[in-house]
């Protein structure tokens, strides 16, 4: 029970992921992004070793499709996993194991994969893809968040007892640095995608300030002064 979008921005080459799920603290599983190398996510019954292995294989020059074969060969429970991989050329490989639960499936397009399990139906995966593609000119993080919101609005997750709310969510983008460009999480919440949007709206005005403060501390204004200025402009 999770729905995700994994993508490479064709304009910038940045990699990003958006995930929402009924499980708690899903962000801890989203360690599969590396600048200029690729992006991957394993979900459903997670094999936590997959992300690191996939990134190492991608950095050696394996294509996304080839990495998927290696993951299959390395895991006796591969049938229980749902996996997406994007290499630095934007080639996509996606896999939904036959033993994942509920309605499970994926949609892939140029440089992206929309995928989920224990969903209300195929319309959720379609909505995630449509949401991601709706405004292709926007920066990657906006497209990823929009995709998650569309997945939520199309019914999201549905278990044996009916609809399952999103209790955790994450939005993460890697640019050219060895660290995340954007990294937002909601770990335990009643409506985690809504809360992720709140965090995103709150964070974005600070983003350049935080970045610049680290790069040029000599000229950085105190955060209190920045916050006061921010409030004054609203």
């Amino acid at each position: 029970m999770t729905f995700s979008v994994l993508a490479r921005c064709p304009t910038t080459g940045h990699f990003g992921i958006g995930v929402a799920t009924y499980s708690l603290c899903v962000g801890q599983y989203c360690d599969g992004l590396r600048s200029r190398v690729g992006a991957t996510m394993t979900q459903a019954f997670v094999n936590q070793g997959n992300n690191d292995l996939a990134l190492r294989l991608l950095s050696m020059g394996y294509t996304a499709a080839r990495v998927m074969e290696e993951l299959a060969g390395n895991d006796p429970h591969h049938d229980y996993r749902q996996i997406a991989i994007i290499d630095h050329d934007g080639a996509v490989a996606a896999f939904t194991g036959s033993k994942t639960r509920g309605w499970a499936g994926h949609r892939t397009g140029e440089g992206f994969a929309a995928f989920g399990n224990v969903l209300a139906g195929p319309e959720v995966a379609d909505a995630i893809a449509a949401g991601f593609l709706s405004q292709p000119e926007l920066p990657l993080e906006y497209r990823l968040l929009r995709a998650l919101e569309c997945g939520r609005d199309a019914g999201g997750q549905c278990g044996g007892e009916g609809h399952l709310t999103e209790r955790s969510a994450v939005l993460r983008v890697f640019g050219d640095q060895p660290y995340a460009d954007l990294d937002l999480r909601v770990d335990v919440h009643d409506r985690a995608v809504d809360e992720l949007r709140c965090c995103f709206e709150a964070y974005m005005p600070y983003r350049d300030y935080y970045r610049e403060r680290g790069r040029d501390p000599v000229h950085a204004m105190p955060q209190e002064a920045f916050v006061a200025r921010l409030r004054a402009t609203r």
Partner: protein
């Protein structure tokens, strides 16, 4: 303005970090934890490249003091940074640059480091150290959380006249895998450490279930079923 404890567990070799700050989404800076390698944090005016560099140097066998010397040589603004480094053997190096703001400083013990800037005073890092050492036999994540809670209770960030709340917090522990053992975050909240404690308590109930479900999916119960079993227990615990 941030306060932090990083530690190495001598019993298990696990390494981790507990952190709280006024800034939003501090967890994104906590990428300096790696199994069998060490733990590091750069804060105050953050040099975001430091963590990846530190972990690579530690992997090559550099000791924390030597790594710190490399960071100093690599950064024209080193005196604006606050940095802690612990290697896989528990050796510690700490740096609080003279140009960090407010009261800033660190306290070092065997296998641990408490540090902060923009704090109400030295009592905060003292308290973080005491909190971390209060139950030395407990799991590392518990000790790290106790550390930052003690820092909060000693006044945390701001000045004695004007306290600044914790808006974000994080708790990360690695053991022997290529992925984290514990990785919890609060990105935007009015009392982020309280919320981190709540998330930790909530997550603890699921931790074994999540782990086992991944390793042995064939026998895993659906999460709805697991949650249904959990709830009566929770109600009893509350009653």
């Amino acid at each position: 303005m941030t306060y932090t404890v990083i530690g190495h567990c001598p019993r298990t070799g696990r390494v981790g970090i507990g952190i709280a700050t006024f800034s939003i989404t501090v967890g994104m800076y906590c990428n300096g934890v790696k199994s069998r390698t060490g733990v590091t944090i750069s804060q105050a005016f953050v040099n975001q490249g430091n963590n990846a560099l530190v972990l690579r140097l530690l992997e090559q066998g550099y000791k924390p003091d030597a790594v710190m010397a490399q960071l100093a040589a690599n950064d024209p603004d080193h005196e604006y940074r606050q940095i802690g480094i612990i290697d896989r053997e528990g050796r510690v190096a700490a740096h609080t640059g003279p140009k960090t703001r407010g009261w800033s400083g660190h306290k070092v013990g065997p296998g641990w480091l408490a540090c902060g800037n923009g704090l109400v005073g030295p009592q905060v890092v003292e308290a973080i150290g005491d909190g971390f050492m209060a139950e030395p036999d407990a799991d590392l994540e518990h000790r790290l959380l106790m550390g930052i809670e003690a820092g909060r209770d000693a006044g945390g960030q701001g000045t004695p006249q004007r306290h600044k709340t914790e808006r974000s917090a994080a708790l990360v522990v690695h053991s022997r895998y290529t992925y984290s053992d514990i990785d919890l975050r609060v990105d935007l909240h009015e009392a982020a450490i309280d919320e981190l404690r709540r998330i930790w308590l909530e997550y603890k109930q699921y931790e074994a279930f999540y782990r086992e479900r991944s390793r042995n999916p064939r026998d895993a119960v659906p999460q709805e079923v697991f949650v249904a079993r959990l709830q009566p227990k929770t109600a009893e615990a509350v009653a």
